[in-house]
């Protein structure tokens, strides 16, 4: 895809793509009621509800996605730690999360946690965000761990031989290379997260799927409503992959994808 002038460097072009995708996402968020309202019934009259649902879905994804990235990094580092109890904790977390349905995790966080510890009573939105963040965090952890293991040992030795501390070696040498390796599967996880956020519907969050389902139930017109709902998801995931493609090109100093 050639959108930008050829004389721009690849770094410039990918930065511009990132900015454009971010702007596109914001426009979709704030203006999607407009084009939707132009569509025929029953979508046009419900455009504002759809727009609210889109904003909630994107907010869930961004919130859980960024928290999940931090959780993933922490769990990956813990799983590679030299300290055995830490390795166990990380392994236990990843094992439980990946081995149980996300729907159960969302229901558990909302209904069961407050029973166990009343201070953990949260709003439906906050509760769903937490469950989604810990869920995607477990998948991110394995991806990031794979990236860390893929960095050649010589890189670590070179950094240590220069006198860098372990933390500095991680921050400036190992992690940037691991992140680049892990980026495509991380994006997969976030795209999956965007779609999985529809399960927040089960605890009453008014996100896109919930909105669509309610309108469909009220109007008895499942075909246009569910097609519109799916189309909006498709639009969101497309914008998201455009953004991540640009990030990948930004990191691609070797020019594999010039």
């Amino acid at each position: 895809m050639r959108v930008w002038p050829a004389r721009w460097s690849r770094q410039w072009r990918s930065s511009a793509s990132m900015a454009l995708a971010a702007v596109a996402l914001i426009l979709v968020l704030w203006l999607c009621a407009l084009p939707l309202s132009l569509l025929p019934e029953p979508i046009g009259s419900n455009a504002d509800s759809f727009a609210d649902g889109v904003r909630t879905t994107v907010a869930l994804t961004l919130l859980a996605g960024s928290a999940g990235l931090i959780i993933g990094i922490a769990a990956a580092v813990a799983k590679l730690s030299r300290w055995l109890p830490l390795r166990w904790c990380a392994a236990l977390y990843i094992w439980v999360i990946r081995g149980t349905p996300l729907l159960i995790q969302i229901l558990f966080t909302f209904f069961a946690l407050p029973v166990i510890a009343p201070s953990l009573q949260m709003s439906d939105f906050a509760s769903a965000s937490v469950a989604l963040a810990f869920n995607v965090g477990a998948y991110n952890a394995e991806v990031i761990r794979g990236g860390l293991l893929a960095v050649p040992r010589g890189q670590l030795e070179a950094a240590l031989s220069l006198g860098l501390s372990r933390l500095q070696t991680f921050l400036y040498v190992t992690f940037p290379q691991a992140f680049k390796i892990a980026l495509p599967p991380l994006v997969n996880n976030v795209v999956a997260l965007l779609k999985d956020s529809s399960l927040a519907y089960s605890v009453g969050v008014l996100e896109l799927t919930n909105v669509g389902n309610r309108i469909q139930a009220a109007t008895f017109q499942p075909v246009p409503i569910l097609i519109a709902t799916a189309a909006i998801y498709l639009l969101l995931t497309t914008v998201m992959t455009q953004f991540s493609d640009a990030v990948e090109r930004r990191f691609d100093v070797e020019g594999h994808q010039a």
Binding site: A158, L164, Y172, P176, Q177, E254
Partner: protein, 254 residues
């Protein structure tokens, strides 16, 4: 045969160092010393413990027993004082067979990373010094390239500049030309010769016999984890008595 004169001011002292990898006894009671300003070339068949000795000096490997003292910084076997360890490593530069440049950083950032993060040198000053080092290894115009865009010989010269940027007391070379295409060996050896002439303390593991003969102040020959001979180059190459070493020299000269 006379052996090399004992070094006057030992910069590095290796005292009865042992190292095993499983059942394999890689270094057996190795004791030696390296003087400041001296170029020591370590020769020996593969598996004789050359690289392991080098890697124990800057603690990329940990010895099972014995002491290594570098410039007064002593680290015993089993000791894990991380601050002393980093102090030790920043005094010792290392050049690897596989270069090990950081692929995600430009040449300039490869060189300035450690001075900035370890020494706290300001960015502008670190870059100015890096450019001087690049000029010294003949790569001024490549400062903003990434390692993948350079030839093997150029990458190894950047790796030498990167090690020099920490102003180490000693430079270790672990088979620096073994991974290079033949036409690139000379450019790296030329840089190393220039370094030797400037008085840099160097310990070089290599199979480049001509380099050892021309630049070395002293030859250590390792066999099966022990120092079989410690000699001046002229004695080592011209008046070699030991049949095993003669056989080795015949092999590598071919």
């Amino acid at each position: 045969m006379k052996s090399a004169a004992p070094p006057p001011v030992p910069l590095i002292v290796v005292d009865r160092v042992n190292k095993r990898f499983g059942a394999h006894h890689v270094l057996r009671d190795v004791s030696t010393a390296f003087a400041a300003g001296q170029v020591t070339v370590i020769l020996g068949a593969s598996g004789s413990g050359k690289s392991t000795l080098l890697r124990i000096i800057n603690r990329l490997e940990q010895q099972d027993s014995g002491d290594v003292v570098v410039d007064g910084i002593e680290i015993r076997a089993g000791q894990a004082d991380t601050r002393r360890l980093h102090a030790l490593r920043s005094e010792i530069g290392m050049v690897f067979q596989q270069f090990n440049l950081f692929p995600h950083l430009t040449v300039l950032d490869n060189i300035t990373l450690a001075p900035r993060r370890v020494r706290g040198t300001r960015r502008e000053q670190a870059q100015r010094e890096a450019r001087e080092l690049l000029a010294r290894v003949g790569l001024t115009e490549h400062a903003h390239k990434h390692p993948f865009a350079l030839s093997g010989g150029q990458q190894q010269r950047v790796a030498i500049a990167r090690a020099l940027a920490m102003q180490p007391r000693v430079l270790l070379f672990d088979e620096p030309t073994s991974a290079l295409d033949p036409e690139m060996v000379k450019e790296v050896l030329d840089v190393m010769k220039e370094l030797a002439r400037s008085g840099m303390t160097m310990i070089v593991v290599t199979h480049e016999i001509a380099f050892a003969r021309e630049v070395g102040d002293r030859i250590l020959f390792l066999e099966q984890g022990q120092i079989l001979q410690d000699a001046l180059p002229e004695d080592f190459f011209a008046r070699q008595q030991d049949p095993r070493i003669r056989a080795f020299l015949g092999q590598v000269a071919r």
